[in-house]
């Protein structure tokens, strides 16, 4: 779990240039208008905590889906499948992204998010613009998750892979933490930050996705060790003859006792 949280945070940090570009204007609306550093801190806190809140809701939901998936697969006589599925999906996302950079035609490029989302967001933003200060920052922060952002949803999938609401929320918190530094220091213009990677940025984010996917998959293998133990215990219950009797000395010691 630690490794996964760490990887998610690093990947999020790496890709947060994207967040700055995409959410920058909304963040600007939330925290920009009023001056003063004291007020600035409160607005930043409201916006980012608003974001965190909806991320956590998303994470909890995704974790629930993941745990349902695990339950279903176990009922179907399979091993828990969520982690493997999530890891696989992440790697796939990464590969698709890479392929797109390399001009490989992949269906879905022209896919548009439903207009309803856009309308909902617009309504939300208009509502926010009527508010002032902290309420506005909070509203904008809460709305953030509605943006159909592939980057965010990739991590929601990872969160689902953990197979439980709490660990899923932990993953989303790690993602949120990773986005903080860049969004807090919006003083650095996105273009300058992107300059560090140049035109390679899409490749970098794609590779980060693949890395997260691989770590998720490796987490599955370590988890499967524990499922293996459960399996062993279950097997033991079926064949009592293979389980040593605790009241008897092991054979080796018995021999020594007899020799004495």
């Amino acid at each position: 779990m630690t490794a996964m949280v760490f990887t998610v945070m690093s990947a999020s940090l790496l890709g947060s240039v994207h967040c700055a570009g995409m959410c920058g204007p909304f963040c600007g609306v939330a925290v920009g208008a009023t001056g003063g550093s004291r007020g600035g801190v409160r607005l930043h806190a409201a916006y980012h905590l608003g974001r965190l809140a909806t991320y956590l809701v998303m994470g909890a939901a995704a974790g629930a889906v993941g745990s349902l998936l695990n339950l279903a697969s176990t009922l179907a006589g399979l091993q828990p499948i969520a982690l493997a599925a999530a890891g696989g999906l992440m790697v796939l996302f990464g590969l698709v992204e890479l392929a797109r950079v390399k001009r490989v035609k992949i269906p879905g490029a022209r896919l548009r998010p439903p207009a309803a989302i856009t309308r909902l967001l617009q309504a939300g933003q208009r509502y926010a613009s009527r508010q002032h200060g902290v309420p506005r920052a909070l509203t904008v922060g809460l709305l953030t998750t509605l943006l159909p952002c592939g980057w965010l949803y990739a991590f929601v999938v990872t969160a689902a892979g953990t197979g439980g609401p709490l660990p899923a929320m932990l993953v989303m918190t790690a993602f949120w933490l990773g986005t903080l530094p860049v969004l807090l220091t919006l003083g650095v213009s996105v273009r300058r930050l992107a300059g560090a990677f140049g035109q390679k940025l899409p490749v970098v984010t794609a590779l980060a996705l693949i890395a997260v996917g691989l770590v998720t998959l490796s987490g599955r293998s370590s988890l499967s060790a524990s499922t293996l133990t459960t399996a062993v215990v279950a097997d033991a219950a079926d064949s009592p003859e293979s389980v040593p009797d605790a009241s008897e000395l092991p054979a080796c010691c018995r021999q020594r006792l007899e020799a004495d």
Partner: protein, 844 residues
């Protein structure tokens, strides 16, 4: 998911940037139809939605704003509006001036300037903001002089950029350095007090916890204490400790490295580890150490600021050229106040022997003022009601009351001081080198800390990794490194100005010190007033001895050095009439530069240069005939009476006390002295040989233009040869100004500081060249001290860093070591420079 593998065969589509976030659009997502129509391109569906939302809400302004700020390299985050007033025309009219090159100039007083690192940061402004040509920060006055192109950027943007760096700007004219300094100091003290209280409480909790660990403590109590410790620790990081984070963030935003970054990183690492331990209820809490650390760091920083302020005050010539206190007339009372508090319009009382605290007009009393420092005029001028007096001049005589018309930087001496202070900020090669090292230093430290943390984590666990890394980051603070060189230079300049040597540029030290036997320099010396006193002495009187009295009477009213010498000779001579019994001349007319005519007791006299007199007489005293062509390197005056040349006086200009010894010393130090003189070549050669300078190194009969040409020829000897010997010109600040300016180093020895500092790099206030020895010694000493300090601080950082990485230094010890290191450098600089004495001392 099926993957179509047919690659697009269209010509390489140019790279598109997402219209919303500005990032590159993956090639496959480039909307070719839109591309042709130059329409929107998006990197993902999310950006498209965001774009639509923004347009739907009428927030398009954002994109325009983004383009604008991307150009400026910065995104305005709220502070922009605060400085909108800076762009108002009345503000600009009042505070901004224009340079000859069409740039605008303003002096801004900055809050929060505390150490040499601030100078790095603020002077990086031209690279941060397009259109800013130059930014020079003075630690002494906490003021920055910004030069910018009004067509490219605005003053409000500059102010906002400075604010973002953590230095809130105010127009310098409205805020005194004292106010800014006091405000900063008050904040520092408050922070220290809060940090101290939090640290104290946290230590008490730590003692309870440690005691509990040995004596036994209920688990619930231990947990409670740990949480309280965390709360106190976070409070001390969030309030007093926030200054480090703010500094670090400001530097990150500006894309530069700063001294706060390693410290902020260290505090952050410690806090993260501590929080994790408290939440998981395991291991050390760290927050007790962190609170104490914040306290110690703040104390250290405060002490550093005090030290540096003290050091830079020592640089300020205000200390040496103007008084620190003055007597201000407040109603009926006369109170003694610091000169900083003096304002235009105040009336001050200046007693005999006092220095005027500001420029002003006399409103009561009469006296004389000695303004020799400014004007070079050694005779005090009488002043009465309505006359102007100048800051830095000395009142000789009665008590004056003066209405102040200008104070501080706006006085004549203030402008002079400005020259010196600006010279201090010139980036000498040594300072540039230190700067470069400093810039890399933070990065090297960050890398070393990462490696250190990883190594310790793998071998000894988290706790040891946190401890050593925090210690390493704190101990490696390059304050001492950044401080060492500028501090030494500054101290040397301050010390010199107190010893009567004004230095305009710190470059001078490096250029003077590089001359030694293996790398000789050329020393061009003006004769009159430099090598000699400009005071003549009659060595020979030929002809009618009775004429001495007549000549003395004729010359009595003249200020010319030769006239004075003749009068003195007459007064000392036994066969002349006492001064009060002489007959006074009538019809006296002086022909400037040649001589004078007058009538005494009915006889017509001519006194002047031999050639001039000979051109107007027909007869010669036969005894003098053979003498006329034997000048012998002396200055000659002829006296004619009623058309007959009757007497000759030969005078010698006296060399300064020990000019010979000084020349000898300088030669042994690797200098090749040469004499440039406006006098007759023979006169020049005679004096030079007295001083041990060879004839072929003596160039007489040079007009000021001739001297300039000579210096130019010496300087441009061989433009391709970088090892050309340094050319130093020593001369009169007024007459030789052009030659002084043309030389590599111009040193003025007379003519008043005000004029001299315009052309020369240094001004020696005591006559003669004796202070030249002291100056050369100071240069050598300064360079030696600067190098030693640099080595010292580098060694400190390497050794202490190594010890910290080895785990021998705890974070608390590191926090004590850090101010200690800059104190060491300061002590080393002070001891190195202050051993210098302005008096010449040829022996050591």
């Amino acid at each position: 998911m099926s993957v179509a593998t047919d690659k697009t065969t269209t010509a390489a589509a140019e790279l598109h940037a997402c219209d919303h976030c500005g990032l590159p659009v993956p090639a496959d997502l480039v909307d070719s139809a839109a591309s042709e129509a130059a329409s929107e391109q998006f990197c993902c569906a999310g950006c498209r939605t965001a774009y639509e939302v923004i347009h739907g809400c009428g927030l398009e302004e954002y994109y325009r704003l983004r383009e604008h700020t991307a150009e400026a390299g910065q995104k305005a985050t709220g502070v922009g509006d605060r400085y909108a007033a800076f762009d108002a025309q009345p503000f600009i009219d009042r505070h901004v001036s224009q340079t000859a090159g069409g740039y605008s100039v303003i002096d801004l007083r900055l809050e929060g300037v505390h150490c040499a690192a601030c100078v790095w940061l603020v002077e990086r402004l031209p690279t941060l903001l397009r259109g800013v040509a130059d930014a020079r920060l003075s630690l002494t006055t906490c003021s920055v002089r910004v030069v910018w192109d009004a067509g490219t950027t605005t003053l409000s943007q500059i102010a906002a950029a400075l604010d973002r760096l953590g230095y809130a700007p105010h127009p310098a004219r409205d805020t005194s350095a004292r106010d800014a300094r006091l405000a900063t100091e008050r904040r520092q003290l408050t922070r220290m007090a809060v940090a101290g209280a939090l640290a104290g409480n946290n230590m008490l909790i730590a003692i309870a916890l440690y005691a509990g660990a040995f004596e036994g403590i209920a688990a619930g109590h231990a947990t409670l204490f740990r949480w309280v410790s965390m709360a106190l620790g976070i409070a001390s990081l969030a309030w007093p400790g926030a200054t480090f984070f703010r500094g670090a963030v400001a530097a990150v935003r500006s894309g530069v490295s700063s001294l706060d970054q390693p410290i902020a990183l260290a505090l952050g690492v410690g806090a993260a580890a501590g929080t994790a331990n408290v939440l998981l209820n395991r291991g050390d809490v760290y927050f007790d150490s962190l609170s104490v650390l914040v306290f110690l760091l703040l104390v250290g920083r405060y002490l550093q600021a005090r030290q540096q302020r003290w050091a830079s005050d020592a640089v300020g010539m205000a200390v040496s050229l103007t008084p620190e206190t003055c007597r201000v007339v407040r109603g009926e009372q006369v109170s003694i106040e610091p000169v900083e508090a003096l304002a235009v319009g105040d009336v001050v009382e200046v007693r005999s022997g006092d220095t005027f605290p500001g420029d002003g007009t006399v409103v009561r009393g009469s006296s004389s003022q000695d303004a020799s420092l400014l004007t070079g005029e050694s005779v005090p001028a009488p002043v009465g009601v309505g006359d102007s007096v100048y800051s830095g001049a000395v009142n000789i005589g009665g008590v004056l009351r003066v209405a102040v018309t200008a104070v501080g930087e706006h006085t004549r001496v203030g402008r002079l001081q400005r020259l010196v202070v600006e010279g201090l900020s010139t980036r000498t090669p040594l300072v540039q080198f230190a700067d470069r090292i400093g810039r890399w230093f933070v990065m090297v430290v960050a890398i070393a800390a990462t490696i250190n943390a990883a190594a310790w984590w793998l071998t000894a666990g988290v706790s040891a990794a946190v401890d050593t890394t925090v210690a390493l980051l704190i101990v490696a603070c390059p304050c001492a490194l950044g401080l060492a060189t500028p501090l030494t230079m500054g101290l040397a300049i301050g010390r010199a100005s107190r010893g009567g040597v004004l230095i305009k540029s710190a470059d001078l030290f490096e250029r003077l010190a590089c001359v030694d036997k293996s790398n000789p320099g050329r020393l061009l010396l003006d004769k009159t007033g430099t090598l000699t006193r400009g005071e003549f002495e009659v060595v020979e009187w030929l002809g009618d001895a009775d004429l001495i009295t007549v000549v003395a009477a004729a010359e009595a009213g003249s200020n010319h050095p030769i006239a004075k010498a003749l009068v003195r000779y007459a007064n000392d001579s036994r066969n002349s009439t006492p001064a009060d019994e002489r007959e006074w001349p009538v019809d006296l007319e002086e022909e400037h530069g040649f001589g004078l005519r007058c009538t005494i007791a009915g006889k017509r006299f001519l006194v002047g240069s031999t050639d001039w007199v000979r051109g107007q007489v027909k007869e010669y005293d036969p005894a003098l005939q053979p003498e006329l062509h034997r000048q012998g390197g002396l200055t000659e005056v002829a006296v004619a009476c009623d058309g007959r040349l009757a007497a000759l006086a030969r005078l010698r200009d006296q060399p300064h006390g020990d000019a010979g010894g000084v020349i000898e010393w300088l030669r042994s130090a690797g200098w090749r002295p040469e004499v440039l003189s406006g006098d007759h070549p023979e006169t020049a050669v005679r004096l030079a040989s007295d001083l041990g300078i060879a004839t072929d190194q003596t160039h007489g009969g040079l007009s000021p233009e001739g001297k300039l040409a000579f210096v130019n020829a010496s300087v441009s000897d061989d433009p391709h040869n970088k090892k050309r010997p340094a050319v130093v010109m020593v001369g009169d600040g007024v007459n030789d100004a052009a030659a002084l300016a043309a030389a590599d180093i111009g040193i003025a020895v007379s003519g008043g500081a005000e004029a001299a500092m315009a052309a020369a790099d240094a001004y020696l206030s005591s006559p003669g060249i004796e202070q030249l020895v002291a100056l050369v010694k100071l240069a050598k000493r300064t360079l030696r001290t600067a190098r030693r300090n640099f080595a010292l601080s580098l060694a400190y950082n390497v050794v202490a860093g190594g010890l910290a990485a080895a785990g021998c230094v705890t974070p608390l010890v590191a926090a004590v070591l850090m101010p200690l290191s800059s104190a060491t450098v300061l002590a080393s600089a002070v001891s190195g420079v202050s051993a210098w004495r302005p008096e010449r001392n040829l022996q050591d």
